[in-house]
């Protein structure tokens, strides 16, 4: 039994969240592991849906033995009742809730349930560990909204989870360490990968050689991918970029071009590659919304943490991509350190040094920093974005309107550009277009304060607020009622999750011209 044990809510069940959960639970903490997906593992350890009956899931999986170890650890703690796993829980905010008389300050995690996301539950904890991961950055180019153009990570997720591919012939393009595994996975799954287009300039590699060589495992991994590319005869085009996607109603071809040493497209090098799919990405961005809602310090786009992975808000830890993009190995190390620290601090002691994990963290951070100097989107990518290119996919705001906001209307920061153009006001809350708008306008990309990490039905928002007054202190999913069981409020099946019920700014709240 863990009644009376300190309670830690871990948000995110990827490598960082799992490592943190196992480390904390092994040290006498009751862990509630809250995750949006149906199964633990995060994006990195995404596996085929169980109904698909994969007998050899490792064929599409990186570091399968690591996953097996995490899975076995989780299973043991679930069995022992030291970890409670809440899948299909989409966290929309975390709030500090005032201390009950004589008790520790606490936190309430609010999460919407299941794919429908109409009903919200609250989870109480003494401390919170944010392992919310990251999402992919894609810079725009003409035609990037055509069906068939997907993010590199999206192509990977659909393949790993649904065992489906976006077309018979694909181009993988952009910049970053994700492109290699995506290209090789698509090729292994039978897709003809017509080109791997990477803006990386191999001549920059020697400058980062020291740090890159410090991670021999990574170098070997890179060599394995390179061998697979050769085996699948995937043409590799370094110092190239996609300048346009074309097609009638869906993607039919991309135009790629070589980049000069100045980072500009070299005129006359354009060539057309017919394809049904383009998997494109330009790196990753940390999910920091929950940290920001809690008032944690964010440096640039990363949640700021100390050596123990503590944020500057007492009782809040952060680990993995949310503290800076660095990959799964770094996430595991940070998660482990964070879980140990949270356990010790909740017991009122100092954590034992985790020397091994700390060494891995140092090395992996150095490696990630070196990769950052190698993988860069083309310096002058914005030159290729024509005025009629849609930049904000949700609100269909073009590059021309974004530029006008600065040149004609005098906007000097992202928020003003957003207010003048609606770029960033749609469903995705600006997550997709923000780097593009920043690049097009020259405005600094600062953390956006998203009060709610995802759209929330207004009724649930009101109920969550009402619950805070005179709360009984228990979890909505308290033992005795399984997570996802009917809530105390009767669910109205006729209630539609309409946009007008959604607690975020959206143009459908005003009259649409017919």
């Amino acid at each position: 039994m863990t009644d009376g044990s300190p309670r830690l809510a871990v948000i995110g069940a990827g490598p960082a969240g799992l490592a943190a959960s196992l480390a904390a639970a092994a040290r006498g903490i009751h862990v509630t592991l809250i995750d949006a997906a149906a199964a633990a593992g995060g994006q990195f350890h995404r596996r085929p849906a169980s109904g698909l009956g994969a007998r050899r899931p490792s064929a599409l999986h990186h570091r399968w033995s690591t996953w097996e170890r995490l899975e076995q650890g989780l299973a043991a703690h679930l069995e022992a009742g030291t970890v409670e796993h809440l899948p299909d829980h989409h966290v929309w905010t975390v709030e500090r809730t005032g201390p009950a008389p004589g008790a520790r300050p606490g936190f309430t995690v609010h999460a919407l349930l299941g794919p429908l996301q109409e009903r919200s539950v609250a989870v109480r904890a003494d401390a919170v560990l944010l392992a919310t991961g990251g999402y992919e950055k894609v810079l725009p180019f003409p035609g990037w909204t055509l069906p068939g153009v997907v993010t590199a990570g999206g192509a990977q997720a659909m393949l790993k989870g649904g065992l489906v591919v976006p077309g018979r012939r694909a181009v993988v393009a952009g910049s970053g360490p994700l492109l290699l595994p995506v290209a090789t996975a698509l090729a292994a799954a039978g897709v003809e990968v017509a080109a791997l287009v990477e803006s990386l300039d191999p001549r920059r590699l020697p400058r980062a050689a020291g740090a890159l060589a410090s991670a021999p495992g990574k170098a070997a991994e890179g060599a394995r991918y390179a061998a697979r590319l050769l085996r699948h005869r995937v043409p590799f085009l370094p110092r190239h970029t996609v300048i346009e996607a074309r097609g009638e109603g869906r993607l039919e071809a991309v135009t790629v071009a070589a980049l000069g040493p100045d980072g500009r497209v070299r005129p006359g090098t354009e060539r057309r590659i017919p394809c049904e799919a383009l998997a494109v990405g330009h790196g990753m961005i940390p999910h920091t919304d929950l940290a920001e809602a809690l008032g944690c310090r964010v440096d640039g786009v990363n949640v700021s943490v100390d050596d123990e992975q503590r944020t500057d808000v007492p009782g809040v830890w952060a680990a993995g991509e949310t503290t800076g993009i660095g990959g799964a190995e770094l996430a595991l190390a940070e998660g482990h350190i964070a879980g140990r620290s949270a356990a010790a601090r909740l017991h009122g002691t100092a954590p034992d040094p985790a020397a091994g994990a700390a060494r891995v963290r140092t090395r992996a951070r150095r490696f990630a920093a070196a990769l950052d100097t190698v993988y860069r989107p083309p310096l002058h990518w914005a030159d290729q974005v024509t005025d009629d290119t849609v930049v904000c996919r949700c609100e269909e705001v073009t590059a021309g309107r974004v530029r006008e906001a600065v040149t004609d209307l005098g906007a000097g920061d992202l928020r003003t550009v957003k207010l003048l153009t609606r770029a960033g006001m749609g469903w995705c809350q600006g997550r997709i277009c923000e780097p593009a708008v920043a690049g097009l306008t020259g405005c600094e990309q600062t953390p956006v304060q998203r009060m709610l990490a995802r759209p929330v039905p207004l009724g649930e928002l009101a109920r969550a607020g009402a619950d805070d007054e005179g709360h009984d202190g228990g979890n909505d999913h308290a033992p005795g009622r399984p997570a996802g069981a009917p809530h105390r409020r009767t669910h109205d099946p006729d209630r539609q999750p309409t946009q007008s019920h959604s607690a975020m700014s959206h143009p459908t709240e005003r009259e649409e011209p017919s």
Partner: protein, 99 residues
């Protein structure tokens, strides 16, 4: 090679759903987006402003580009919603509230 063979999949029995009234067979566990990709369908929404086609973009629930109407509920993220036998998928026009 195809993805199912690659992982030596032995899926459960397919079931039937409809896309705009047309019956399609779906392997258990697949999301709306995966089922439609398996059918070769890559767009199932037109935008509010210019009526342009959209489908999967981020594939992990962040971008909201793959919105679709399932069982008369508009604005579901096709990449997140798993299908069940008999589900009715409808392509979504604009806000999804006009039809």
């Amino acid at each position: 090679m195809n993805p199912l063979d690659l992982v030596r999949a032995e899926p459960g029995r397919p079931f039937t759903v409809t896309l705009d009234g047309r019956a399609i067979d779906v392997l258990p566990g697949r999301t709306v987006a995966a089922a439609l990709w398996a059918e070769g369908v890559t767009s199932w929404r037109s935008t509010r402003g210019t009526g342009r086609p959209r489908g999967v973009f981020c594939g992990i629930g962040v971008c909201f580009d793959c919105l679709v109407t399932v069982n008369d509920r508009p604005n579901q993220r096709a990449c997140l919603v798993p299908l069940a036998p008999g589900d009715a998928i409808r392509t979504q026009e604009g806000t999804g509230h006009d039809d």
